[in-house]
């Protein structure tokens, strides 16, 4: 047997001229858990997508067991025993555990399925790995964690030797995560290799035999188990040069008056005892890992979702629960995370999209006041520098950054008290990012209070006055301006306090 089960050599990949992977090497030994870490945009998922045949590589070689292989499709990957378990599970919800495991590999005898035999086979597979699953259970009735084990079994039944797990614990509780770790250890004993992608330092610290860190499309380190020190890993992921990026100096300090205040806001199983204050003209960063509950808290504050207990006060007066219309009329705005499906109407022009939130003032007796609509559209296009500068262009035809500006324009045109903005720069190029930050800063200066939810640490640090870190549905810690580095933030997200590390 070769030393490495998988060896990727000098893998290169660019998207529209921008290099995403720059001659990356990556090796996985037989029967090891190999963690892959890096910030958003470091190139982890691109590397994995090349390995599983979703993207063709631009350059480099892939070896399995020392033999060079070409992986051009998902089927090729399966042929070489590589399978990936994604967060969006790929099971058939209305079929049973057994039917899912055996899907595509059914045993038949003169047309009829040999259900008993297949059930026995599935049961053996379940028993071999000690998973507590019933072969007859219908997948959609199982909790997420068990569905994940079904998916693992399906991969194992396909004779997988290398299983890729992408943030497998994101939607799992602690207890469920523990049983997943147990399963991972069993797989390892059976000689299966695992590539474990996670943002959670503590998991990697516990599980990984080795760790590869990617940064800006290049491999910066390969560490053995004993070399993995959380603090060092954090530094390596971020890189030295960026360590200085602390809160922006352009920010004007907020006014003392409290605009928004929540008190022990709780939604069972989603978030718990969330209390915070937002001042006039303040930008409050809300950070935390995906699944920590940040988006859900903000949806509840905004009135898009219900909550079980607690209060939300706007300028000292309680805000009604679950009433978006009321929130908007009181000067709330929400720019959702999923810009494309929730933020705008792609087949309408920029001016129509901007007008959508403003028809209370832009219409008379049910008719649109077209001249005013046009004036507002032109004004927003100009003031936000949306390109191309034509208010009649469909928003769907704009670039990501300009789409986001159009979404902002929808709300900015109303003169907001509170703007909640979720991942404002995801998938947007650097130039446009800066423009969006400037827009946010201007807004804050003019008295709007902003809550910024973001996974991008640099972004949170650059534009926030204060930062709250959420973890597992609770506020874990708070940082105020100047006292924080990316490292602190990264470790707080994983549940490590400064002193503890």
């Amino acid at each position: 047997m070769a030393e490495y089960l998988l060896k990727m050599e000098a893998i290169e990949k660019s998207f529209s001229g921008t290099p995403v992977l720059k001659k990356v090497d990556f090796e996985v030994r037989p029967g090891e858990v190999h963690a892959l870490m890096g910030e958003n945009g470091a190139g982890k998922s691109t590397l994995i997508k090349i390995l599983t045949g979703f993207f063709p590589k631009d350059g480099g070689k892939i070896y399995m067991d020392g033999q060079q292989v070409e992986i051009n499709s998902r089927n090729d990957a399966t042929k070489y025993g590589i399978s990936a378990i994604y967060q969006e599970l790929s099971l058939i919800p209305t079929l049973s555990v057994m039917q899912n495991i055996m899907l595509g590999k059914e045993r038949t005898q003169t047309c009829l399925l040999r259900s008993k035999e297949m059930k026995k086979e599935a049961q053996q597979l379940i028993d071999r790995y000690g998973f507590g699953l019933k072969p007859d259970a219908i997948v959609e009735t199982l909790p997420i964690a068990q569905r994940q084990t079904v998916e693992i079994l399906k991969a194992l039944n396909g004779k997988s030797r290398l299983i890729i797990m992408d943030e497998p614990t994101a939607s799992l509780s602690n207890k469920e995560s523990e049983s997943l770790f147990q399963i991972i250890r069993q797989l390892k004993e059976q000689g299966v290799s695992i590539i474990y992608i996670s943002h959670r330092l503590e998991e990697v610290y516990r599980l990984a035999d080795r760790l590869t860190i990617l940064r800006d499309g290049a491999r910066v380190a390969v560490l053995d188990r004993k070399e993995i020190v959380p603090k060092d890993v954090a530094v390596m992921m971020i890189g030295k040069a960026l360590n200085e990026a602390t809160a922006s100096e352009n920010l004007r300090p907020p006014k003392p008056e409290v605009v928004l205040k929540t008190d022990r806001l709780t939604r069972k199983g989603v978030f718990q005892d969330i209390s915070f204050e937002l001042h006039k003209g303040e930008i409050l960063g809300f950070s935390g890992l995906v699944g920590s509950g940040r988006t859900e808290v903000m949806r509840a504050v905004y009135g898009a979702d219900n909550y079980d207990s607690g209060t939300v006060l706007l300028n000292g007066k309680p805000l009604p629960k679950n009433n978006i219309g009321k929130s908007i009329s009181l000067g709330f705005g929400l720019v959702p995370e999923d810009r494309i499906s929730q933020g705008f109407t792609p087949l309408l022009s920029i001016e129509r999209n901007v007008a959508l939130t403003n028809y209370d003032t832009l219409s008379a007796f049910g008719f649109v006041r077209v001249p005013q609509e046009k004036r507002l559209g032109a004004k927003m296009v100009k003031s936000l520098n949306i390109k191309p500068g034509n208010p009649l262009v469909h928003v769907g035809d704009l670039s990501g950054g300009n789409q986001q500006k159009a979404v902002l324009a929808k709300w900015l045109s109303r003169g907001l008290n509170v703007l909640i903005i979720d991942e404002p720069t995801a998938g947007i190029d650097i130039g446009a990012k800066d423009e969006i930050y400037k827009i946010l800063e201007n807004l804050a200066e003019n008295g709007t209070s902003i809550i910024l939810i973001s996974s991008d640490l640099k972004e949170v640090l650059r534009v926030s006055h204060r930062i709250l870190v959420m973890r597992k549905g609770k506020i874990f810690t708070e940082f105020s301006e100047g006292s924080i580095t990316q490292e602190d933030l990264l470790m707080a997200e994983s549940g490590i306090t400064k002193k503890g590390a």
Partner: protein, 335 residues
Amino acid sequence: MRQENIRRLISVISLLVLSLLFGLTSSDFFTAYNLLNILREASITGIIAVGVTFVIITAGIDLSTGALVGFASMVCASLVYYYHPPAAVVMLVALLVGLIGGALNGFIVAKLRVPEFIGTLSTQYLFRSMVFVFAIRESGVITNKIIDDPNILIMGGSIGGVYLVTFAFLIVAVAGQIILKKTKLGVYIYATGANSKSAQLSGINTAKIRMIVFTITGFLCGIGAIFEIGRIGSVTTDLGTGLEFQIIAATVIGGCAFSGGRGDVFGTVIGALFMSVLQNGILKYNFPTATQLIIQGVVIVIVVVFDSVYNRIAQKRLQEQARNEAAELLAGGEA
């Protein structure tokens, strides 16, 4: 109890309640003659609904079934009128026309990737226009001719009071349920509808599966045509008009979801019986035709609305359960 079993119980109970309602208010509802008639009425709808059940489980729809029955029937009527072939040939032609029509649907939908609704709506028009092409004409005028071949009319007959079409329905339904639950094809039909991407990744040729279910449906339309001719003894140009909606209503009442992956033939049989009991029972009250149609429509709307409300509640309950589990772990599990 599983959600689907509860749903099934509800549809069986509503069928019984409806029957009881008609039985108690009308003296000739629970007679052997009437019940056998109800079964007969349910049978043609039901036979084709088995195929449409397959289609809907793959998350598809077939709007062309009624027109295809009309087309196949008319081809047979012309054949008999002009050439007098043996009955077996006529029946074979009916099956062949159905098979080809279904395969055409499958080709348009699965291979040319036309959305089901548009694709089968177009073939509905195509098949209906073919009815006129094949219609029997006398000096240029479409004429309705009696089919007098006793070997064909025998298909409208009965054995011991039970109509042949009902036996056929029983056979088709049992075969359909076996295909769905006991064969690879059945599993693949569910997989295609519930999560076609994942099915493809598991090596299932979903285009082929969709092609197959449409072809089966077409073939069953051919069977339906044979019994329609046998029952009526002649073919008009509007034969089968609106049948597709009865069929779809039967499958939906039986628990098929348009989103795919759910439902089975047993449910569809209940649905077909429900539709037939409803029609038969209303007739007994001597309402004007318009009133009958209104009542039918209202009942179907009620059932479908109930179904969607029920599904939402069931879904909510599942989510609630998951949330509570998560809450427990969140409260106890923080390290």
